[in-house]
């Protein structure tokens, strides 16, 4: 093992590998920032470019894009309240309020360093514990996936700003919207209203673009003047945030673990990890009332977790040949194109490539710090633009981003319809984050519930028994119960405190 590690380390240190990582990180930062362009798209588009490269160099380039685009979705989330990638939705909760308070630079700095630490943690876990963790991922089945989605639902309430009932209604609506389209097992179309563009459901990225871009444009146009924004939008204090991130040791470590574990579970996704970490940070914080108003703990938790997913998601890919998410599925294609078979054989036959790739991920996590801060320093000037230019630019990019997902003009109409819904939600002061979480969880919950039921031939009693007899299922059930009980106790405490003060 030591020989293989040293071969991998030396491979990753080659100038061609470092250059590829640097180029990948730079491209990834720009891809992640633009709503509509995702890590999956960036990696898929650049695979053909890597045909002529040696396999290790090609993988270093693609890995750099993956990591950097995961982080840079937070730049537009922080500066404009428009998440560049689905995993940056939780970042909007506290990143944008920090920008409004004049701490844009600090928010971006916290995001960069938190993402860096999360990515490094999961890369180290991938390096040393990949075979053990891959066995863990094999032990999870449909019942565990359903319970994980259910656990995610229990934290919808913790994302509420203002009325919890309103937020829960938004979350349930999100769950319902995620069910639009074909049922995963029966193939029956639901709530499509005869529109072919809805047969495959509503893509998450289109929903995010519509939910966030259009209401934010209306808000920008409704602001009285730009002069207040200019005073508030200083990009300073970014580099000094490293020690502030490190000071939140428990929060960072917990978020790293959450992100890595969620990443190992195929299909779970970065959005879920960032929300779960955010919720855990809120429950463990001494100032939970600050969450949603510019809490640095919330921002650090979300960003650490979503980058910690990157290494975890590569565990099932590299050890078992099972892609953990859409990006790793595309990376698997890249490996196959270069004549490599993902799985245990990869580590035995090509340790320089396998370990070289993992070490290059470590270096990429360090590289996106200066690149991300440099890009963000100039991006922050975007909010100085006159509002008519900013609004028109955001709308045209949103339209283009929505079109680019599937190449259908009807998707832009869908984006507009979702945008109208998003505007109405903000008009009635309903938080959008619970709805997004519902959208993310709904498909996962339904498909796994259907699968779990079909495995027990529809016997609900048998399924419930499995929930308590399978060890991971039982752990998740206990987590769900704890989440609900703690949430209820907290809300009871705060309503009693409110009664005492009146």
């Amino acid at each position: 093992m030591l020989d293989a590690l040293s071969i991998g380390f030396l491979t990753a240190l080659q100038p061609s590998m470092l250059l590829a990582a640097c180029v990948g990180v730079t491209i990834g930062v720009f891809i992640g920032m633009l709503p509509g362009l995702t890590s999956t798209m960036g990696v898929a588009l650049l695979i053909p470019v890597t045909f002529s490269f040696p396999p290790a160099v090609g993988l270093a380039l693609l890995g750099g894009i993956y990591l950097a685009s995961t982080f840079s979705g937070s730049i537009s989330a922080i500066l404009l309240n428009i998440p560049g990638t689905p995993s940056a939705v939780a970042t909007c909760q506290d990143g944008y309020p920090m920008t409004r308070a004049g701490k844009a630079g600090r928010a971006v700095g916290l995001s960069v360093f938190a993402s860096c630490i999360g990515g490094i943690f999961s890369a180290i876990v991938l390096l040393f514990m990949a075979p053990v963790l891959s066995e863990l991922s094999l032990m999870l089945g449909a019942p565990e996936y359903f319970l994980l989605a259910l656990f995610g639902v229990t934290i919808i309430a913790s994302l509420s700003e203002g009325s919890m009932l309103k937020s829960m209604m938004g979350g349930v609506l999100g769950l319902i919207i995620s069910l639009i389209g074909m049922h995963p097992l029966t193939g029956e179309m639901r709530l499509t209203m005869g529109l072919p563009s809805l047969y495959d459901g509503i893509p998450l990225v289109i929903t995010l673009i519509g939910l966030y871009s259009i209401p934010e444009v209306v808000n920008i146009l409704s602001e009285k003047s730009n002069s207040q924004k200019r005073e508030n939008s200083q990009f300073s204090g970014a580099w000094s945030t490293l020690k502030d991130v490190l000071a939140q040791r428990l929060n960072v470590f917990r978020s790293c673990v959450i992100g890595t574990v969620i990443g190992i579970i195929p299909g779970a996704g970065q959005s879920i990890a960032s929300f779960i970490a955010y919720d855990a940070a809120k429950r463990g914080s001494r100032t939970p009332e600050q969450f949603g108003k510019g809490s640095e703990e919330g921002l650090v938790a979300a960003e650490t977790a979503n980058n910690a997913v990157t290494g975890g998601s590569l565990v099932p890919l590299l050890t078992l040949g099972v892609p953990g998410n859409a990006v790793s599925a595309v990376l698997m294609g890249g490996l196959i194109i270069h004549g490599l078979s993902p799985g245990p054989i990869l580590f035995q036959n090509s340790p320089d490539i396998a370990y070289g790739f993992i070490f290059s991920l470590l270096f990429s996590n360090l590289l996106f710090v200066p690149v991300g801060l440099l890009v963000a320093k100039y991006c922050v000037k975007v909010i100085y633009l006159p509002k008519e230019i900013l609004a028109a630019s955001i709308l045209s990019l949103a339209v283009m981003g929505a079109y680019a997902i599937r190449g259908q003009v009807s998707d832009v109409g869908l984006m507009l319809a979702i945008g109208v819904l998003g505007y109405l939600l903000t008009f009635f002061s309903v938080s959008r984050a619970p709805m997004v979480l519902g959208l993310v969880l709904g498909t996962m919950a339904e498909s796994n519930l259907s699968r779990a039921l079909s495995l027990v031939r529809g016997d609900v009693g048998e399924l419930l028994l499995q929930f308590v007899t399978r060890p991971f299922s039982l752990a998740l059930v206990l987590l769900c119960v704890a989440s609900v009980v703690m949430g209820y106790r907290k809300s009871r405490r705060s309503s009693l405190a409110a009664q005492d003060t009146t």
Partner: protein
């Protein structure tokens, strides 16, 4: 009080929506609709509860203050009008893409939008619109290889290099 009244309106809209979804769910097979139906019913219950709570609070406050409150305030109306402008412009943009192609539609959309949002036309807007439309076109359709949308005019194909 206005916010409470708005909340009641929001709850009413959700009641109607959730009832419609519940009704629709009965037209699907049981296996396909069990989760959908359950969620829709939960939404009905939550919406009705929220509506009742808000109406009760509003009536109590109206009685205590002795007057009703408007559903919308001045700012709300301005906000709504701005939103209608944005929706209309984006809707027109979508239509224009299918008629004149992406490049020209984007140029027109960005220019008209900036003129509408600022209230006056400027020569700078023409230059910016052209630059932005060309940049987006080059980035997405040439660099990233996204497929061109179909349109009545073949204007876009002249600029397609890849």
């Amino acid at each position: 009080m206005t916010s409470i009244k708005k909340d009641a309106g929001f709850a009413l809209a959700f009641i109607l929506l959730s009832i419609w979804i519940t009704w629709e769910s009965f037209s699907y097979s049981y296996q396909s609709s069990v989760l959908l139906r359950g969620l829709a019913m939960i939404l009905v219950v939550m919406s009705v509860a929220f509506f009742i709570i808000r109406i009760y609070q509003y009536l109590r406050m109206a009685k205590a203050r002795g007057h009703a409150a408007p559903f919308l305030e001045g700012n709300d109306v301005r906000h709504l009008l701005k939103s209608l402008l944005v929706f209309g412009l984006v809707g027109g943009y979508i239509l224009a893409i299918t008629l004149v192609g992406f490049l020209l539609a984007t140029f027109l959309f960005v220019f008209i939008s900036m003129c509408c949002f600022s209230g006056k036309p400027r020569v700078f807007y023409l230059v910016y619109s052209a630059a932005l439309a060309l940049t987006i076109f080059m980035l997405f359709f040439n660099a990233l290889g996204v497929t061109l949308p179909d349109s009545l005019l073949p204007f876009d194909t002249f600029f397609k290099i890849v």
